[in-house]
Subunit: 438 residues, 2 copies
């Protein structure tokens, strides 16, 4: 039988802190990093080459080694297993990781061990797509509702999303699926960019980048806020003047505030007609977000990149605390948990606008959005997926964004394979780059 | 100046899975473990011996090495620092760990990095007590309300517990403090035991242990449930018959159920007059706990051992989802965060009944309960602290429980120092015990 022969986890770090890319009120010196898992087999893929899987989770520097260690420990359980058995029942494969009660204690289902599970399962999803020669969004979109509901992690969701209801949502999306796939392939999925809005950028750089992004077809602009209210008022005014009255302007505070401060600060920016305030406070504070949402309407509340599992999303949505669901493909434990969150979002009619950027998140998250459109919500309405034009050159099959939209690339797998050259350069601490600076 | 000279983190694992101690519906093979941090200095302690600090967090086996690694990385920042500056301002020392935005990404404030922070800060609290020759509960209880409120981690709590309100609670507890200290020293703090209720035990063993515990002065009994309803009905009936109608009987499901199942299962046990159902579902599910609480009253809902930070406790209490607050001294990031949760509990009038057992949790948690009684809530009412008579022999100054109550030991520090002999035996994987079995 074809067997998983080894799991390798590589600590990759990119020195992004040198250029203030990725700077926000909470994260001033991020070195975008990936805990990068490579699963090897002795099987052939759809094209006859050796079948492998590449997955990652994203961190911002120190501690990436801890996630790598956890991924190695969690991932060991699949080594020696039958490739087909693992990939034919990805629901069971995913759930088998939850059986390890000793590792579960370290979360449960949150923090380092959950990030690590994401890296390992993402590699298996990449492998599942490669095995059949399809992108993973398409592999999933072509499954039956019954198959999908077995893959989705519905544990602890029965009070708001019983299995029968999940099935009903998926069955409802069967209608028009081929047409939506055709539409997606023709015109892509709507994106927005954070490229112009980093806190470390001067006003001039921000305005230049906004103009550049507009020429590239992006209609929405997002600014980081939260360090100084005066600065935020000035930057929002400049950005709104630059984009005119009709295009969406969003702000992102990266958890800087407590609840009363968030309400006061955001309301001081009401004149700029903001679509959303993102991460106004602690990502754990469901009820706090609801209070903020009630107080700052019509500005919407967006959060999710640090929402650590589907149980948190369940409450955010059930409590009416979230206008935009910004799930993260490295924070949630792979497409099994993402699918559950897509179903919750459909149930509560919350548009999914995934978090991306970092390294590899755009590559993965396009699959989540496409899956949502084709097989779950069936709609683009209110939906827009983050895009940051950063570090894509390290991927063998990077995202392709044109006309302000993610374009279907047609590549098999999860688009998560990185160049050997990039790994040799940025492996930490012994890659060429890091050997040189230390 | 006296300086932190080194931080050592040791992976200790005890082979408890061999005896089904600690078995419950979720955790069938726990090997109680500690990520044990030892901080060395070149300073003398109150008795002139070298000043050291010992702290730990608790895990149940695999993955303890991951927590140790995280504790080493987090703890490095204190090495070389001035001992007095660190210990004189434990609020600032604690908050300085939050400044590391790269490590923060891995939580934030949850999972492995939060457990690791707990181990490191617990060692510093032990050191703070040793430096002045006092137990940490007393070190804290003798501080002014202003000093305490600077130590408590009140970040993200302002909407329900502004600083002024926290100060007011602490000032209110000033009255009668010396009398409460005297009472505590005379009669100790009420405890209950889980010793009889592990799921792996036979009915005979359970009843024998209940009788034994009764002779030792324990009035309350807690049973693990959730594997089989028939078994649970039989075990609850046997236990209730054994202890009579008046003594408290509690059950603990260790997160086994979704919300509808919890409600159905617990209501099927109503006839046994249960005081609480503990961890009925996912520890992240605040709103689910509230729904369960509403549906199973008058049985109370207890949770907290997996409640990963103060923001979660804030919501559990504000939402009316928690009747008993079972904070955990290894899960929360040391007394700084515990103090915040004690203040929240006082604000919402929720009795604090800390989780203990495992290894070292009883040693630490007695300080939390005593601090609560003396300096925060000022009350024993409805409060009872878990106790399990397991693994105390490894501690230099173990808890002393008599007459069903935690007795004040008078030892300086946090009672967290372990015997060199125990470390030599159970260090993983190279201690004598593990070398022998592998």
């Amino acid at each position: 039988m074809p067997t998983i022969t080894s799991l390798e986890v590589i600590d990759l770090r990119f020195p992004t802190s040198l250029h203030a890319d990725g700077s926000d009120a909470m994260n001033k010196d991020a070195d975008y990093s990936a805990a990068y898992a490579v699963v090897h087999t002795d099987a052939p893929d759809a094209a006859g080459a050796p079948l492998v899987g590449h997955g990652l989770t994203f961190t911002i520097g120190r501690g990436n080694d801890i996630v790598c260690m956890a991924a190695r420990e969690l991932g060991q359980r699949i080594v020696g297993h039958d490739v087909d058995a693992l990939l034919d029942d990805m629901g069971r494969t995913y759930r088998s990781f939850g059986d390890d009660s000793q590792m579960r204690w370290l979360g449960p289902e949150k923090g380092v061990v959950h990030l690590a599970l994401s890296a390992v399962m993402n590699a298996l999803w990449d492998m599942a797509g490669r095995r059949v020669g399809k992108p993973v969004w398409r592999l999933l979109a072509e499954m039956t509702p019954e198959q999908l509901v077995d893959i989705a992690d519905l544990r602890y969701l029965a009070d708001v999303l019983p299995r029968e209801r999940a099935l009903e949502i998926l069955q409802g999306a069967e209608l028009g699926k081929p047409e939506r796939i055709a539409k997606l392939e023709a015109s892509g999925y709507p994106a927005y960019t954070t490229a112009a809005g980093w806190l470390g950028y001067s006003d001039e750089k921000m305005l230049r980048l906004i103009a550049e992004q507009e020429r590239l077809g992006f209609t929405a602009v997002k600014l980081k806020v939260g360090a100084s209210l005066d600065d935020d008022i000035r930057r929002c005014r400049l950005a709104r003047e630059a984009i005119g009255p009709d295009r969406p302007l969003m702000i992102d505070a990266n958890q800087m505030w407590d609840v009363p401060t968030a309400i006061e600060w955001v309301n001081a920016l009401q004149e700029f007609d903001l679509r959303w305030i993102e991460e106004p406070t602690s990502p754990d504070d469901i009820l706090g977000h609801r209070e903020i949402r009630d107080a700052v309407a019509p500005i919407g509340v967006a959060t999710g990149e640090h929402c650590h599992n589907r149980v948190m999303f369940k409450q955010f949505m059930a409590a009416g605390a979230m206008d935009f669901c910004q799930l993260d493909a490295g924070r949630l434990a792979s497409l099994n948990e993402i699918l559950a969150v897509l179903l919750l979002a459909a149930q509560f009619e919350v548009p999914v606008c995934p978090h991306a950027g970092g390294v590899g998140l755009c590559e993965m998250v396009q699959h989540a959005s496409m899956l949502d459109y084709v097989a779950v919500s069936g709609s683009y309405a209110g939906r827009i997926t983050e895009y940051v034009d950063n570090l894509h050159e390290h991927f063998v099959h990077p995202v392709r964004v044109a006309g302000g939209r993610y374009q279907v690339t047609g590549e098999r797998g999860y688009n998560t394979e990185m160049h050997a050259e990039s790994i040799a350069e940025f492996r930490f601490p012994d890659g060429r780059y890091w050997s040189g600076v230390r």
